[in-house]
């Protein structure tokens, strides 16, 4: 295995509704991250992109996204119709095979282009589930109730997660929700998608996240303290919700095990917990002790959820904790699909 590290992370300004086109959102972020790592376009030998056409409202939008990269002379590029975190995995594999040494990975989403709660329905079985148009929030709410009924999650715990996330978000200039609200106050709010309250659901955002990763011989040129990827794995559960225990995530548990999360103490975890109960389910499934691990110091996806970038942002935010020396060992996680169906987990270390 080659040693590979994340050496730079940049996120574009998260906004509730941008007037920029997706390509215009990407261009400045690409420029900024190249500057941050002090590299030229020509130093990047693999580009990998995560996005979703149903969200952008533009079929084959990834083709025009290449315009943002300056693909002349032609570049080695790939795209996943997934969160950028899966593009990071593809880039990691590409580097492991020796076909590339330095990769720029990005994810972008323009959630404001449409009703994402409805558009995400299209991830479901198209024969006997999607024609009912359940809406994504409703499915996540069913997952929350399954966990509450099973006794693995309480409404109080969910409120505590929201309270802490909003508080941490106050220190992060790139969020859409923040504030100081204690759990009691949050629990007084009415339920919307019962058992979820409005604050249990993510602040949808338009945004871009980008990462540069490279091998050992160049990492220290680009970053004083690279975040070395010591383990990475991704797993997927059945699409059929009826076959799964929604109070836990088997795929997150397996990915965590194979990434080596529980081999040592976890200083910081950036989990792609889009709904408040996800954090609790994920931590339990992944073997992360929330009382000793600093959870989502960025505020997480609850306070800014740029679809298709928010998962990669967890990898970037976890890497930042390593860059700054605030953590020696961090866990990054991203999820896709309904009720934590697909999960990717990485262990990042500073040494």
């Amino acid at each position: 295995m080659r040693d590979v590290a994340i050496v730079a992370y940049i996120e574009g300004q998260n906004t509730s509704a941008t007037t920029l086109s997706p390509v215009e959102m990407i261009v400045p972020v690409v420029h900024e991250i190249l500057n941050r790592a002090n590299v030229q376009r020509s130093d990047i030998d693999f580009w990998c992109h995560g996005s979703c056409d149903y969200m952008t409202g533009q079929p084959f939008s990834f083709v025009s996204a290449v315009d943002a990269l300056g693909a002349w002379p032609p570049i080695m590029e790939s795209h996943v119709e997934m969160d950028g975190a899966w593009a990071l995995y593809e880039a990691w594999v590409k580097i492991q095979t020796g076909e590339a040494n330095t990769a720029l990975v990005f994810g972008n989403g323009k959630s404001s282009a449409g009703d994402m709660n409805r558009a995400l329905t299209l991830q479901l079985d198209p024969y006997v589930v999607a024609p009912l148009w359940p809406g994504f929030r409703s499915l996540e709410a069913m997952g929350a109730r399954a966990a509450i009924d099973a006794g693995t999650v309480t409404e109080r715990q969910m409120a505590d997660v929201v309270s802490r996330s909003l508080r941490d978000a106050a220190d992060n200039p790139n969020v859409l929700a923040y504030g100081y609200r204690d759990a009691d106050e949050l629990l007084d709010e009415p339920m919307t998608a019962n058992p979820l309250r409005a604050h249990d659901c993510p602040a949808m955002a338009d945004g871009v996240a980008a990462i540069i990763m490279t091998t050992a011989d160049r990492a220290l040129e680009m970053c004083d303290r690279p975040a070395w990827i010591r383990g990475i794995d991704h797993r997927i559960d059945f699409q059929n919700l009826g076959l799964r225990d929604l109070s836990r995530s088997n795929s997150a548990a397996l990915a965590s095990f194979h990434a080596g999360v529980t081999k040592d103490k976890v200083d910081v975890a950036e989990l792609h917990a889009t709904y408040s109960h996800h954090e609790i389910i994920l931590a339990q499934s992944m073997g992360i002790d929330r009382s000793t691990t600093r959870m989502m110091p960025s505020g997480g996806a609850l306070v800014a959820n740029p679809l298709m970038a928010a998962g990669l942002a967890r990898f970037g935010q976890a890497a930042r904790q390593i860059f700054k020396g605030d953590a020696d060992r961090a866990v990054a996680h991203a999820a896709q699909g309904a009720c934590l169906q697909q999960n990717i987990v990485a262990v990042l270390e500073g040494n």
Binding site: V23, E24, S64, V66, G70, W72, A119
Partner: protein
């Protein structure tokens, strides 16, 4: 079983609010006023029309200066459409061409009318035929089609590197 259904229709309609982005606004405002406005790349200096997304895809940078191009141009390449298809509104055979507008570096696609398909050729000089001004919108559809100007054909060298 023999009588079981084999297919279902699952139509999917999704509504979006589309924003073209500021990079394309100058182009669309131009069309609204009967002008063809492209933009120049600050790095490679190519003039794009349309200035798609306001980006030079070759350099990956935002386009800068606004440049009025055309309205006349040169056919660089073309095809004759002989195949009828559902929703076709133009009588076949007709010509779809790539037109290099004067002052632009990137060809654009449009229809050629008011001449026989067999007479269309590379290098032919053409000009736009606009809709009635009362029907103008911020769209290239304001131009109904291009027609020959009758000028002598452009030299091959003029458009050789734009093919």
């Amino acid at each position: 079983m023999a009588d079981d259904i084999l297919r279902i229709r699952t139509p999917i309609g999704i509504d979006y609010t589309w924003s073209s982005g500021p990079g394309s606004v100058v182009y669309m405002r131009g069309l609204e006023n009967g002008k063809l406005i492209g933009r120049r790349c600050p790095d490679c200096e190519l003039v794009y029309f349309p200035p798609r997304n306001g980006i030079c895809p070759r350099c990956g940078v935002l386009l800068a200066a606004e440049v009025e191009v055309g309205p006349r141009g040169t056919i660089t390449t073309f095809c004759v459409v002989n195949v009828p298809f559902l929703g076709q509104t133009i009588k076949i055979p007709y010509v779809a061409a790539t037109i290099l507008l004067d002052g632009a570096d990137i060809g654009m696609q449009h229809l050629i009318q008011e001449c026989e398909a067999a007479d269309v050729r590379m290098g032919m000089r053409v000009e736009p035929v606009w809709k009635d001004k009362s029907e103008w919108t911020p769209s290239l559809e304001n131009i109904l089609y291009y027609k020959p100007t009758g000028e002598p054909d452009a030299d091959f060298d003029v458009y050789a590197r734009h093919l």
